[in-house]
Every structure is written in structure tokens, then in C-alpha cells.
């Protein structure tokens, strides 16, 4: 069953009756959750702390498995794949932006952004220009040879956005990407993310507990009692 306000056509991601419980005696974090994400759509998922937002994101990314239900990424059911197959799919079709940035400190900015292309086996002659292009698009082209230790939080998150999109994934997962940033910087990052998503027609899911951050999305849903409900845009 599709979530409210969605349609199953042209979907990048379909979640069908997902269930997940971490403790046998505990309440279900996800209880028959459904979602359809169209190509190019940007949705924000809000909810209280401990509602299961990050768990949902991990299941979508293939880093965790639901107790039951289906996760269809571009028509492929992740639950039917083994870990290696999910990993290869994630490598090619998903990008990540984390709250804690997770930029490798001993690689330069350029090397960090090239990493997904490196893993995909893109030749070096193509990796570097593509990565540089994305650094320019994220307005940090001048920092290509800098090390992360020298940079501010906002700059680090720009690097993360560039890394998430450099391999042109179908889906970007952003887990509280502005949680460590001030309001002004957070706004800049969300605008940047929005612009680049539109430029690449990638879809995105933003996990946030900030109503202001959620406003950057096309659609806002709320995770409550294990299911997604439409929230005010």
C-alpha cells in the first residue's frame, strides 16, 4: 500500500509493509511501514528521538535488514540479495551525507570526493575531473588539496555533499546532515543539497528533527508509531 500522497509509478524507492523490532519484547520500531519515492523527489522524514528514523535509513541503505517487508530500489528487492550484492548496489546507486560528516582526515578533500568513483573503478583520468567539477559545484573547488582538519563544519559538509553525488546515484540518504551546524550554515547546506539534487534528478531522503530543515524538502512525512504519516509541508 502506498504512503499518502504518492504513486507507485516512476518510483526509485518503494517500501512495502516494513516491520522491524530490536527486542522481542519491545515495541516495533517499524510496523507495516510503506513509502514510495519518485524519481527526483526529495522527502524529509521527521519524528521524535528514538522513533526509528535512522533505523529506517539503514534499512533503505541495506545496512540493516527488516524483520519482514520489502525494500525495492529501482525495482530490485534488497531483501532478496546477499550482503555483497547489496553492497555493490549501494556503491553504485546510493550516496550518503552524515551528521558527523565522516570525512577521512588523512585524505585530501579531492581524494575524499574521488573515493566513490575509485570504488566503482572509474579510471583516474576521469575521476579527478569529475571530482573537481563537483567541488566547484559545491563552492569548495579551492580547497581541493586541503586536509579536512583545516576546515570548518560547513566546509566539511559541502565535501560530504560532493562525495554523495559525485557518482550520480539514484538516491541520496542524508541522516541529520545539519545536526552539527549552526542555522545559517545549515540553511546553506540544505540549499546546496536541493540545488544539486535538482541538477542530477536524484531522489533524496532527509532525516531530521528540525522543522526548518524539513522545509527544504518536496514532501514531509512523520514517523510515528512505526508508520509514516503525511505532515504539513
Amino acid at each position: 500500500m502506498a504512503a499518502p500522497g504518492t504513486s507507485a509509478t516512476n518510483s526509485v524507492l518503494t517500501l512495502d509493509a516494513l516491520r522491524k523490532r530490536y527486542r522481542p519484547e519491545g515495541a516495533a520500531l517499524l510496523d507495516g511501514l510503506n513509502l514510495v519515492l519518485r524519481q527526483g523527489e526529495f522527502i524529509a522524514i521527521m519524528g521524535e528521538s528514538g522513533a526509528g528514523k535512522s533505523t529506517l535509513l539503514n534499512i533503505i541503505a541495506g545496512l540493516d535488514r527488516p524483520d519482514s517487508g520489502r525494500v525495492l530500489l529501482e525495482g530490485t528487492d534488497l531483501c532478496s540479495l546477499d550482503d555483497d550484492a547489496i553492497t555493490r548496489l549501494r556503491r553504485a546507486r546510493i550516496g550518503f551525507v552524515f551528521q558527523a560528516f565522516h570525512i577521512l582526515p588523512y585524505l585530501t578533500v579531492l581524494q575524499n570526493v574521488m573515493l566513490p568513483l575509485d570504488l566503482l573503478g572509474v579510471p583516474r583520468s576521469q575521476r579527478e575531473p569529475r571530482a573537481l567539477q563537483w567541488l566547484e559545484r559545491c563552492a569548495i573547488g579551492a580547497l581541493a588539496q586541503a586536509y579536512p582538519r583545516e576546515l570548518s563544519g560547513g566546509e566539511l559538509q559541502r565535501i560530504a555533499v560532493a562525495r554523495a553525488l559525485v557518482h550520480e546515484p539514484a538516491l541520496v540518504l542524508a541522516d541529520e546532515p545539519t545536526g552539527n551546524l549552526d542555522a545559517g550554515t545549515a540553511g546553506q547546506i540544505l540549499r546546496l543539497l536541493r540545488e544539486q539534487l535538482q541538477a542530477t534528478a536524484a531522489s533524496a531522503i532527509l532525516i531530521t528533527h528540525s522543522p526548518a530543515a524539513a522545509q527544504s524538502a518536496d514532501r514531509i512525512v512523520r514517523l510515528q508509531a512505526g508508520r509514516l504519516e503525511a505532515a504539513a509541508a
Binding site: S54, A61, D83, L104, L119
Partner: protein, 842 residues
């Protein structure tokens, strides 16, 4: 993209970052593997040089012989040669007089000489005889001798030089008629014509060896057995293979023990790799999780981490073989192949590079490093990346390890294995017991640590309580850090106790055997120099001499496949033998009708199975004589065994009144140097006399003991070094991982020195636990070393003696080093300002 590419990317990201971030830690791990491989390579090269040299020497000596008939040094009737030569199975029979010839020079060991019939010997030892040159008739002169190049060089002799030798109590002069080419024989040896040797060395009508080559139609083993049945007591027919291998067999236990020590060093290094890699994986868990999130598969991550340890292994092993080769070359040059242990009584074992063997050591070291890295790699790949990306999962892995039961099972197995007898003369079960106890104890470390830490009460002092809370909260990394220190420290404790016990026992034994003021002998280890009765009387009658006792020693063969046992005829009371010998056990009866008493060393008891009170037949003077085993005594001087009989019985049975050694007691107020001078003046072959005061002999013996244990001391040092490396690696890894934590503590008001003191307290607490655990484990391992490994390897016992002061100092040093290393690592980790520290991802 293929699977290897992802692993390559992951390896690049992880390892190069590691090298940039903690180059010292990487170098320390490489060094740990290198030390282990170096010890192994050095031991291998030294042993190989010695065994190869010995093998080459005996091959040259025995040549093409199929069977060797061998008797005691005193020889057998040469009529036996005629009988053997006439045997239908024998194609060529070559008579030999093989003796260790006393030289009339101070502090010069006896020279092995072969008295040969050059024409007969040419068929059996063509390389040796061929080197004599075309004209062998010059050898027939009664005083002619040909020296090998090493002998000539050692004695500083050239052609036509004189060589004074001691025969009986007189000095005779030989003439060097030729020197063999350098490649003819690589040990010191002299060759004489057999008739000349019999005449000059007063062995008329006697031989002690006959080399036989058989006709092709005859099977050597059956001929050997048949001929052996016709020979007199103490004369054996041996296969050439056994004859060649005897020297190596005698020293096998010594060499195997050295190999085991080297293996222990390598395993200790491998364990350090494990603990280092485990802590490193814990510290890099977020980076590893990120790589998994970006698309590195589990297999690729495992491969990348294994490649990391493999590179460490290759680099460390390469360093190790270079260091090991260098150590072997230096050791062979300065200490000789026997390290002063007298296990190989020879000179000139040449250092050679064995490329294939050294490559093998590189492989072994790499494999050991990889073995240390397997479990961390598997655990890292298995860990769910989602948790690490949110943090907090670091300590879950080790808490899930089902180690306690396995540890108890291994420990129990180790304890049981220690009771098993030797296998093939080697303490195989003992070695396995040690490995089982070691690994079992390591598996018990998590449970033991948890109990110990939970038993520590709150002190009410912030710094101490925080330190212990940190240790309790990070049990996984605490345990891993502890384990590597425990392994190296316990091995060090075990070896320190074993060596101290041995040295104590050795020193006590020396005191018992050297009660006199002076010890005297004519040329160490010779078969030709003796003290006649007039010489003995002269010594006893010298001014300043209170009394003198004389001994006659000679090697006798009890078994064809074993080395000769030393027979020692000396004055001692059969009622109170313990006054003279370091007796361990005595037979209930002091006398047995028709049999003289004999006291056997522990080696003889173990190797020949003799029991107290048993009647045995010993070959003496060409006959078999009955003795009863009156006691067992402790002997560290003769690895192949020694038997003591009363000199009066020896003289009665053989008619031989000569002596080879003497002990002299001086009158009160006399000086040992004055008595030595009088002895030298009174005896003709004075230059060949070795006179040494008992204190000096004890000192020299202890120095030789220390040289023989040089490798063990080296291993102790390696174990301590690896332990300290483990301490520093653990401290630096932990400090780096907790930079944000230190920053937070500084933010909330903890002073810098308080943070450092907290780290020092953690380091000291950890290392104190490790020292206590290591003392217990090391003590248990030392019991196996002392009572099982040592006894089964060398067939002698030692009494346990614990060097408490040495252990206390070492333990204290380790605890102090831990505190200092923790402080140093903490300073480095807090070198950036606290604001930046709390902002960092890593």
C-alpha cells in the same frame, strides 16, 4: 570493477593513512615481527652451519665406508683387523687409529689425529688421501704428520716445523711434512701413517677403528649385525649412517630447544601483531564502517586488512632475516657454533647464506603476522557498519567471545600434557603443553580482568576512579592490551626462572665437584697424555701440598647408536659416596657380591634404563666386567652420560695405574700460584699441563654457562622488548582514540596534569594486572621448562630457584614503562587544543 580493486582501494585508504598517522606504531609492529624472525633465522643459520660442518667432516673422514667397527680410545687388538679383512663380505678394510692428541702447549685443545694406511684408506677416503699428494711415502717416517689447513693456522705451523706432543707423561716431537689444501678438510686434524702412529703414540698392536667397504652382493645391515656378534666387549660394528649422524643426534635436543625458543619469539611477535591490529581496527571502526557504507564488501574489507598485516609481515620478516644473518655471522665468529656450550666440540663452522631457507623465514614471519591479523580482519568485516556510524559499539565484540570455557579446557589440557613422556627423545608433549597453557591463559584474560577490575573499590579520588571506570568500560581493548603484555612478560618470567634455577643448580654442582684448591690435567680431552705413578707421587710429595687425589677418565661405548659414555675412575668411599659426588639417589645396599659399585649420571639412567641395584656389564680393558648401580648422581658435564667407579676397582680390573686428572689440596697459608709453579717444575710436559684454581675454574665454567644461554638471554630481551612495544602500542592507540574524550574532560574543568595522571594510572593499573598475571603464568610455565622440557631434553635435573629480585625489578620496570608511555602518548594526544579535539570525527 573486480573484487581486488575494492580491496586495493580500501587498503590504500586505511594503510597509508595509518602510516601517516602513526608511523611509530607501524614501525614498532614491523620491529616485533623482525625480532622474532631474526632470532629464528640466527638460530637456524648457526645450527645449520654446525651440523653441516660436522656432517661434511664425518663424510670426509668416513668416505665410502659401509660399516665402521669402532672401539674405545684405548683401542682393541689389531688381530681383529685381520679377521675383518679376511671376511668374505669385505672388499676393502682400512685400519685406523683415531686419537685426540695432547699438544705440549698451554691452553691448547687436543688435536684429532688419524693414523691411516694411506694405500688402503685411498679406496675409502679418496678426497682426504688424495689431498696428501702423489708421494705418500714421506708419511712413513715415525715422526711425520700432515696437518689440515685449519690445524696449521690455529697452531701457527708451516712445513718442516716441529710439533711437540705429549704421550703418556713424556714430550715427543713430530715434524710437519705437509699441509693439506684449504678445501680438503675444514676442521683441525692431523694425519699420520698408522704404523708410525702406533709406534710414536705407544699404541703398538692396537687400533680403535676399522672402516669396511663391502662387496656389492652383500647387504650392509646384515653384515653389520653378523660382524657385531664376533667383536669383543666395548667394540661395535656401526652403519656409516649412524656413525655420521651420531654427533648431530647428541646435539639434537640442544638444537631443537633453540628452535623452540626462536619459534616462541616469533609467536610472541605474531601475538603483538594481533593485539596491535585489534586495537587499530577498534580505533578505525568508523572509517571501516564508512568504507562499507560507500560500497566496500565484507570480503574486500577482510582482504584489505589482511593485506595490511601481510605487508607488515613481509617488511618485518625481511628486516628479521637481515638482522638474523648478521647475528649468526657475529655469533659464529666470536662464540663459535656451540655458543660455548661444548655441544659441538669443533672450530670453524663457516657462515653461509642459505637463500631458500631465509626466503622460508620471510614466508614464516609473514604467515605469523597474517595469523595475528586474521581474527581482527574477520571481526571488522562482520561488524554491522550502521552501529559504528553512530558510535558506541566498540566493546561489544570481545564481550561476545566465548573464551572462558575454551581457556579452561586448553589450560587443563596443557597441565595434563606435561605429564607425558618424551617422544623420540624430545619433549614434544612439553612444548605442546606450554603452547596450550599460554593460549588457554590468554583466553581467560577477559574473565580474569573483569573480576579483578570489579573488585577494585572506589577510592573517592576523581582521577583514580575515572581511570578504573575507563578500564571497566573499555574491557575489550583493555583485555587485548593486557594479553600481549602478559604473553611476553610470562615468557620472560618462565625463562628467567628456568635459567636462574639452572645456574643455581650448576653452581652448587660445581661447588660439590671442586672441593680442592687446585685442579690439574694434562691437555683437555686428549687420549694420549697421562700422569704416571711416579708423576702422581711427585705431585703428592710437593711442598705445600696437603693431599692429592687422582682420576682416570676414558670414554666407553655402551651402545652402537649412542655417543660414548665417560668412565671416571676416582677415589671415593662406597659407604659415603655423597661426600664426593652430588648424589641424588642411592641403592639400599652398599655392596653386592661379585660386582663392584658404579654410580651413574642421570643421563645414563634415562638413556640406558639402568635402575638402582641393577647388575650391569661394562666394557673395561677389552673384557666385560660386572658392576652394580649403587647410586645416581647429578652431572652437567657429559651430555652423553658418565659413570663413576672406584679407582681401586679400575686399577684391579685393567692394570692401568695412570691418571688423567688430579685435585690438589694446599697446606694452610700456602698460595695456589706457588704450588702451581712447583707442579710445573716437577713435571716434564709442563707446557701441556692445565692447572687452575677451583675458584677460577668455577668462574670460567659459569662464564661458559652464560655463553651457552646467550640465545636464551637474547630471547628474554626480545620478550621484554616486544612487551614494551605492546605497552607503547596499546597506550598510543588508546590515547589517540580518546582525544575527543580528553578534550571534553578539559572542557568541564579537569586540569591537564589530572588527565595525564589519569592516563598514567590506567597504564600502571593495566601493567600491574599484567605483571601479576604474567608472574602466575610464567611461574607455571617455568615448572614445565624445569621439570619437563629440561629433563626430557638433556636428561639431567635442576632444582627450582626463583630470582625474586630480578622479577621484581623487571615487573617494576614494565609498570614504570607503562606509566611513562601512557603519559607520553597522552601528551601527544592532548597536544592540540581541546576545542578542536571535541570537534573531530575521529
Amino acid at each position: 570493477m573486480n573484487a581486488g580493486h575494492g580491496a586495493w582501494v580500501a587498503w590504500r585508504v586505511l594503510s597509508l593513512a595509518q602510516l601517516r598517522e602513526q608511523p611509530l606504531r607501524v614501525c614498532s609492529t614491523i620491529l616485533a615481527i623482525g625480532l622474532g624472525v631474526a632470532l629464528g633465522a640466527a638460530v637456524y643459520l648457526i645450527n645449520t652451519a654446525a651440523v653441516t660442518q660436522f656432517d661434511q667432516a664425518t663424510r670426509r673422514l668416513l668416505g665410502n665406508a659401509d660399516v665402521v667397527v669402532r672401539g674405545p680410545a684405548a683401542g682393541f687388538d689389531e688381530a681383529i683387523f685381520a679377521t675383518l679383512a679376511a671376511d668374505a663380505a669385505v672388499s676393502v678394510a682400512s685400519p685406523v687409529l683415531e686419537l685426540d692428541l695432547a699438544l705440549s702447549r698451554a691452553h691448547t685443545p687436543a688435536l684429532k689425529i688419524l693414523g691411516l694406511d694411506p694405500f688402503r684408506a685411498a679406496a675409502l677416503q679418496p678426497e682426504l688421501i688424495g689431498a696428501l699428494g702423489e708421494d705418500t711415502t714421506a708419511l712413513f717416517a715415525h715422526d711425520a704428520i700432515v696437518l689440515s689447513r685449519p690445524a696449521a693456522d690455529a697452531l701457527g705451523l708451516h712445513r718442516q716445523d716441529a710439533l711437540p706432543v705429549v704421550v703418556g707423561g713424556a714430550v715427543k716431537t713430530l715434524r710437519v711434512i705437509d699441509i693439506l689444501p684449504a678445501d680438503a678438510y675444514q676442521d683441525p686434524i692431523g694425519i699420520m701413517d698408522i704404523a708410525a702412529a702406533q709406534w710414536t703414540l705407544e699404541r703398538l698392536g692396537r687400533l680403535n677403528r676399522v672402516d669396511l667397504r663391502l662387496r656389492p652382493a652383500f647387504e650392509p645391515e646384515s653384515v653389520r649385525v653378523r660382524l657385531g656378534g664376533t667383536l669383543p666387549a666395548g667394540v661395535f660394528a656401526l652403519s656409516a649412517q649412524i656413525e655420521r649422524g651420531r654427533g648431530a643426534t647428541v646435539t639434537r635436543a640442544y638444537r631443537v630447544n633453540l628452535d623452540m625458543l626462536a619459534l616462541v619469539a616469533l609467536l610472541t611477535g605474531a601475538f603483538l601483531v594481533f593485539s596491535t591490529q585489534w586495537l587499530s581496527v577498534l580505533r578505525r571502526r568508523v572509517a571501516l564502517a564508512l568504507l562499507r557504507a560507500l560500497g566496500v564488501t565484507r570480503a574486500q574489507l577482510r582482504l584489505a586488512l589482511l593485506a595490511e598485516t601481510a605487508v607488515t609481515g613481509v617488511l618485518g620478516s625481511t628486516l628479521g632475516v637481515v638482522l638474523g644473518a648478521l647475528a649468526a655471522a657475529l655469533t659464529l665468529h666470536y662464540l663459535g657454533a656451540d655458543l660455548g656450550s661444548r655441544q659441538f666440540a669443533m672450530l670453524g663452522a663457516a657462515f653461509r647464506i642459505h637463500v631458500a631457507a631465509l626466503l622460508g623465514f620471510v614466508l614464516i614471519g609473514t604467515a605469523a603476522a597474517c595469523a595475528g591479523g586474521v581474527l581482527p580482519a574477520i571481526q571488522a568485516a562482520r561488524r554491522p557498519p550502521a552501529l559504528a556510524l553512530k558510535a558506541g559499539d566498540a566493546e561489544q565484540d570481545l564481550s561476545r567471545l566465548p573464551s572462558t570455557a575454551a581457556g579452561l579446557v586448553l589450560g587443563a589440557a596443557g597441565a595434563l600434557l606435561a605429564w607425558l613422556p618424551p617422544i623420540g627423545g624430545l619433549p614434544v608433549a612439553g612444548y605442546v603443553s606450554i603452547a596450550a597453557l599460554l593460549f588457554g591463559s590468554v583466553l581467560l584474560v577477559p574473565a580474569a580482568t573483569r573480576r579483578c577490575l570489579s573488585a577494585v573499590p572506589a577510592t573517592g579520588r576523581l582521577v583514580l576512579d575515572t581511570a578504573f571506570a575507563q578500564l571497566r568500560g573499555s574491557l575489550g581493548s583493555t583485555t587485548v592490551s593486557l594479553s600481549s603484555i602478559i604473553v611476553s612478560f610470562s615468557l620472560m618470567v618462565a625463562m628467567a626462572i628456568m635459567v636462574h634455577s639452572f645456574r643455581d643448580s650448576f653452581e652448587l654442582w660445581l661447588g660439590k665437584l671442586l672441593p680442592a684448591d687446585l685442579q690439574l690435567r694434562l691437555s683437555s680431552g686428549s687420549d694420549t697424555a697421562t700422569l704416571s705413578v711416579p708423576m702422581q707421587n711427585r705431585i703428592a710429595a710437593l711442598p705445600g701440598v696437603a693431599r692429592a687425589q687422582f682420576r682416570r677418565t676414558q670414554p666407553i661405548l655402551l651402545n652402537a647408536e649412542r655417543a660414548a659414555v665417560m668412565l671416571i675412575a676416582r677415589d671415593l668411599s662406597s659407604e659415603h659416596p655423597a661426600d664426593t659426588l652430588p648424589l641424588l639417589r642411592e641403592a639400599p645396599q652398599a655392596t653386592v657380591a661379585g660386582a663392584a659399585p658404579a654410580w651413574i649420571s642421570e643421563s645414563v639412567q634415562d638413556l640406558y634404563g639402568y635402575e638402582l641395584g641393577q647388575i650391569v656389564n661394562l666394557p673395561l680393558g677389552g673384557r666385560t666386567e660386572r658392576f652394580f648401580i649403587a647410586g645416581v648422581w647429578r652431572d652437567y658435564s657429559h651430555p652423553a652420560g658418565a659413570i663413576v667407579i672406584r679407582r681401586e676397582d679400575y686399577t684391579r680390573l685393567t692394570g692401568d695405574t695412570t691418571a688423567t686428572e688430579a685435585s690438589v689440596w694446599q697446606q694452610p697459608h700456602e698460595r695456589a700460584t706457588a704450588i702451581e709453579a712447583r707442579i710445573r717444575a716437577a713435571l716434564a710436559p709442563a707446557a701441556a699441563l692445565e692447572v687452575i684454581s677451583s675458584p677460577d675454574l668455577r668462574e670460567r665454567s659459569l662464564q661458559a654457562f652464560d655463553r651457552a644461554f646467550a640465545i636464551t638471554y637474547a630471547l628474554e630481551a626480545v620478550a621484554v622488548l616486544i612487551g614494551l612495544i605492546g605497552v607503547s602500542v596499546a597506550a598510543s592507540s588508546t590515547a589517540l582514540a580518546r582525544r575527543a574524550q580528553f578534550g571534553m574532560l578539559r572542557h568541564i574543568g579537569m586540569l591537564r596534569r589530572q588527565v595525564l595522571w589519569m592516563l598514567a594510572s590506567e597504564g600502571m593499573a593495566l601493567s600491574t594486572l599484567a605483571v601479576l598475571y604474567g608472574l602466575l603464568l610464567g611461574g607455571a610455565l617455568s615448572l614445565i621448562l624445569v621439570y619437563v622440557i629440561n629433563r626430557q631434553s638433556f636428561n639431567w635435573s635442576i632444582d627450582l630457584s626463583v630470582p625474586w629480585l630480578q622479577l621484581a625489578l623487571l615487573g617494576g620496570a614494565l609498570i614504570g614503562a607503562s606509566a611513562l608511555t601512557a603519559l607520553w602518548s597522552g601528551r601527544a594526544a592532548m597536544s592540540q587544543d581541546p576545542i578542536r579535539a571535541v570537534r573531530e570525527d575521529w
